[in-house]
């Protein structure tokens, strides 16, 4: 089953909060190799996390 961007966006968010299953991880990896938009989204989630951590420094 291939992931849609909608499903990928949810898994990418959850990957910041829990360990994904091996299956989820593999499908996500495959999706990301093919999808620029989701790669950018993933990067933005990481940038957001860093920025919030820095917010009150």
């Amino acid at each position: 089953m291939k992931l849609s961007c909608k499903e990928a966006s949810r898994l990418l968010s959850q990957s910041l909060d829990r360990d994904l299953t091996l299956g989820e991880h593999a499908r996500l990896r495959l999706h990301l190799t093919l999808c620029d938009a989701c790669r950018n989204f993933n990067q933005q989630l990481k940038q957001l996390r860093q920025a919030v951590a820095r917010l009150f420094e």
Partner: protein
Amino acid sequence: MASDFRSQVEAQRPYLLRYASMELRNSDAAEDAVQEALLAALGAEASFAGRSNLRTWLTGILKHKIVDSIRRSSRERPLETTDGESTVDDFDALFDETGHWCEPPQAWPDQALQEKQFLQALEKCLAALPARTGQVFMMREHLGFETDDICKELGITATHCWVLLYRARMSLRDCLQKGWLGR
């Protein structure tokens, strides 16, 4: 000397209040937490001696008071599960019927994230989140709670927690894209 310390501590009050308000999303609770932190700090001057940064030290004390406050309020007012913040359907509009992005995310330049305007926009976007969503997000990303601990403190399921975090991130991303990058 003692009154000097007091006035230096007092001078940090506005900053601490801004910090607590962002975490607790409730101005009364934020005032209380800051008051408790300042009192604790004034009574602990000796333990500050030799530390270089007063603000960092005070923020450390405040964090404990914030966690206490979250614990108390979740005991007093258990979370309603029908708070209207528990679905992800409202982001369906961002995707077409095949699940692709309607407006594919573009890369954010790392350089721009260092700018003051970005952090200002981020604060605004955080303040605009629904209360519970914002609180869970700040517990996770700013106070550094694990999801399990957030569930325990707030009495919500892990699934609900992930949904709220997804909502927060999607909203913030969208808000920053529009508010900061202006498109």
